[in-house]
C-alpha cells in the first residue's frame, strides 16, 4: 500500500514538472515576453563582458586540472627525492650549446657540495638532455583509484623534471600545486555552500516572519558583520583540538570560515524578502492558506536566486583567502594535508624567500583563482543589472 502511494506521488511530481502550465509558470511567461528564457538572456549579457569570459575559462581550466590532477602533474603528489631538495626550476632551452635543435628540453641537475662551506649548488648537467613532450609514457598510476593510466599530459622523457623547482623535501612544487588546488577549491566551494545555506535560511526567516525574530537576528547580523574576520578565524581555528584527520579538519575549517560570512548575505536576502512579502502573488497564495514553507520555496526563493548567486561569487574568494591565510599561519590545514596555504607556509621565512623564491609560485595560483571568481562575479552582476535593457 505504501509503495503504490509513493509511486503515485512520484508520478504526480513528474507530471507537474513536465506539463509546464503556460499561463502561470513564471519562466514560461518570461520567455513569452522577452523572447528568450531568463538563463539565455543572462548568458548573452555575460558573454559581452570579456573579462568575465576570461574568468570562466580560467576557472574551467583550473577545475579540469584539479579533477584530473594525476594526469596533469608530471610527478606525483608525494614523489620525493632528497637529492632534489630546494632544486631551482630548470631553464627551458630549444638549442643546446652546439646549436643542435632538440625541441623543448631541459638539462638534468648535478648537485655539487662545496667541500669548505658545505654550500650546495645545483648545476645543470649539459650531458643529459631531457626533452619535454606531450602525452609521454610513464609508470602506471591510478586516476580516481579506478582507471589505470600510463601516460601523462606532459613531462620530460627519460628523467625527472620539476617545472617549478623542488621544496624542502625534494618534491615537485608544480605537481603539489595542482593537487593542492583540489583541496583549496573544494574548501572554498563547500564553505561558500554552507554560508549560502545558512545565510539564506536565516535571512528568509528574518524577513518573512518579522517581529521579534527579525529584531534578534538583525542585532546578531550586526555583530557578526562588524567582527574582524581574520582574528576571529584564528581564534576559532585555534580553539579546535589538534590531531584531527584531514577529512575532519576539512569540514571544521569550512565551518569556521562560514561562521563569519553569512551576515552580509542574510541582510540582503532579508531586504528582498521584506519587499516580496507584501507583493500580490504572495498575498494571493496566503489567501489560499498555502503553508508558509511552500510559499517560501516556490514563490520567494526563485526571486532571491539572483542575490544568492551574486553573493556566492563574492563569498568564494573570501573562503579562499580565509583558508589560505589560516593554513599559512599553521592554524588551518596542516601537513600532510595539501593546500595552497600549506604550500605557502614553506615560503614564510625571508631567508627561504631570498634563496628559493619559486616557493612563492602557489601564490600566483591563489591570485589567479580569486581574480577569476571576481571577474565572473562582475560579469554576473552586470548581466543581472535591471537598468541595462
Amino acid at each position: 500500500m505504501a509503495f503504490t502511494s509513493v509511486v503515485h506521488k512520484i508520478k504526480k511530481k513528474l507530471l507537474n514538472w513536465y506539463k509546464k502550465d503556460l499561463d502561470t509558470n513564471p519562466s514560461e511567461l518570461f520567455k513569452k515576453v522577452h523572447g528568450q528564457s531568463y538563463a539565455m538572456l543572462l548568458w548573452k549579457g555575460f558573454k559581452g563582458n570579456k573579462l568575465a569570459l576570461l574568468g570562466l575559462i580560467l576557472l574551467l581550466i583550473m577545475f579540469i586540472c584539479s579533477i584530473l590532477a594525476p594526469l596533469f602533474s608530471p610527478n606525483g603528489e608525494n614523489y620525493r627525492e632528497l637529492s632534489r631538495k630546494y632544486a631551482p626550476p630548470a631553464k627551458i632551452h630549444l638549442f643546446d650549446d652546439e646549436g643542435k635543435y632538440y625541441g623543448l628540453f631541459v638539462y638534468d641537475y648535478t648537485l655539487e657540495t662545496d667541500a669548505l662551506s658545505g654550500k650546495r649548488t645545483y648545476k645543470p648537467d649539459k650531458n643529459t638532455i631531457l626533452p619535454i613532450r606531450f602525452f609521454i609514457k610513464t609508470e602506471q598510476y591510478h586516476l580516481f583509484n579506478l582507471i589505470l593510466l600510463n601516460r601523462k599530459l606532459f613531462g620530460a622523457v627519460g628523467g625527472i623534471w620539476y617545472p617549478f623547482g623542488g621544496d624542502h623535501q625534494g618534491r615537485c612544487v608544480f605537481s603539489r600545486i595542482i593537487f593542492a588546488s583540489r583541496i583549496s577549491l573544494s574548501i572554498a566551494l563547500f564553505g561558500a555552500t554552507l554560508t549560502v545555506v545558512f545565510g539564506t535560511f536565516l535571512g528568509t526567516i528574518s524577513g518573512y516572519f518579522g517581529g521579534i525574530i527579525d529584531t534578534v537576528l538583525q542585532r546578531l547580523i550586526e555583530i557578526v558583520i562588524s567582527f574582524p574576520r581574520i582574528p576571529l578565524w584564528m581564534a576559532l581555528a585555534a580553539a579546535l583540538p589538534a590531531g584531527f584527520s584531514p577529512v575532519k579538519e576539512f569540514f571544521l575549517i569550512s565551518l569556521v570560515l562560514s561562521v563569519l560570512g553569512w551576515g552580509g548575505l542574510a541582510r540582503q536576502i532579508r531586504g528582498v524578502v521584506l519587499s516580496l512579502r507584501d507583493s500580490d502573488f504572495v498575498l494571493a497564495a496566503k489567501s489560499y492558506a498555502t503553508p508558509n514553507k511552500r510559499i517560501m520555496f516556490k514563490h520567494i526563493l526563485p526571486n532571491i536566486l539572483g542575490v544568492i548567486i551574486v553573493n556566492a561569487t563574492i563569498l568564494i574568494p573570501l573562503m579562499i583567502i580565509g583558508e589560505t591565510s589560516l593554513s599559512f599561519l599553521g592554524l588551518g590545514l596542516r601537513p600532510p594535508a595539501n593546500s595552497w596555504g600549506v604550500l605557502l607556509k614553506d615560503a614564510q621565512a625571508i631567508q627561504a624567500l631570498e634563496k628559493y623564491p619559486w616557493l612563492l609560485i602557489p601564490g600566483i595560483f591563489v591570485v589567479v583563482s580569486i581574480l577569476s571568481f571576481n571577474f565572473i562575479g562582475d560579469g554576473l552582476r552586470d548581466a543581472v543589472d535591471p537598468y541595462k535593457y
Binding site: R219, F227, P228, R229, P231, A239, F328, Q348, G363, I370
Partner: protein, 327 residues
Amino acid sequence: MLSFIIRRLSYMIVNFFLISFLCFIIIQLPPNDIVTRRIQELETLGATNVESTLNTLKEIYNLDKSKPIQYLYWISGFIRGDFGYSLAYKQNVKTLIFRRLGMTFLVILSSLFLAYIAGILIGLYSATHQYSFGDHIFTFFGMVGLATPTFLLALMLLYISSRFFGLRVGGLFSPEYVSAPWSIAKVVDLLKYLWMPVLILSAYYAAGLIRIMRTRTLDLLREQYVLVARSKGLEEKKIIWKHVFRIAINPLISIMGLQLAEVISGGVMVAIVLNLPTIGPLLLQSLQTQDMYLGGAILMIMIVLLLVGNFLADITLAWIDPRIRYN
C-alpha cells in the same frame, strides 16, 4: 542628533556585552589550553611546594567557581583594566598588550589615512579620465591587489625589496634602536621601516576604495545637475570638487566602520609576516600556545577598537548626512 548619539551608545554597550560573552566562550573552548596543561603538569608532580602554586593558579583564574561566575569576574576585570595573567609570558596581559598598542595604532591609523587619501584622489582621477591609460593601470592593479591576500602581498613585497633593492625589512626598528629611548633619530629609524607595512595595508584598502569611488563618481557625472552646470559654463574643477565629490564621498564614510575591521584584520597578517611589534604576532603566539586568556583579551581589545571606531564613524556619517539620524 543627541538622541541618535545616545541610541548608538546604548547599542555599542549592548554589543560589547554580547560579544564579550562570545569571547569568553571562545576562551573556554579549547579543551587543552595552557592553564589546564599546567595544572595537569603540577598535579602529576605532586610535590609539596606545588600545592601553593596550584592554589595561586586556581585563584588567579577563578577555576573553582562555576562558569557564569568566572565570566562575571573576567568581564568586570576587563572593564576595570585588569585583563588577566598570561601563563606563557608570565606577565600581566595588560603590560604585554599596552607596550604594543602604540605601534598598532600607529600602523593602523597611518594606513587608513593614506588609504583614504589615495583612494579618493585616485578614484576621482580614474572616473574623470575614464578609459585613459592611467585609468586602466589603476584598475588593473586594483583588481590584482584586491585578489591577493594581505600576507601574500607582504611576502611579494619582501621578496621584491630584498631581491631588487637589497633591503632587509622586518620589524619596526634597527637592532640598535629597539630598546633605546625615544629621540629624533629613533623616529627617523622608525620611518625607515614603517613604510613597508603601511604601504601594503594602504594599497590593499585603497584598491577597494578606488573601486567604490570610481563607480560612484562615474554614476554621478551622468546626473542632470552636472550637465546643467557644464552648460552654464562652470569650470570642470569646481563641478567635481564642490558638487560631485561631496556626494561621492558618502559611501566611503559609511563603510569607514567596516574598513576599520578590515584594516585591523589585514594588519594582523602583515604584522605576522613582517614580524612587527604589534598585537598581531602576539595574538598568533597566544593562539599557538593556546594561552586563551591572552588571546581572548587581544580579541576583545580589537573588538572594542572596532566598536568605538564604528560608533565614531556612525556619528560622523550622521553629522554629514542628516537622513541617517532619523532612520
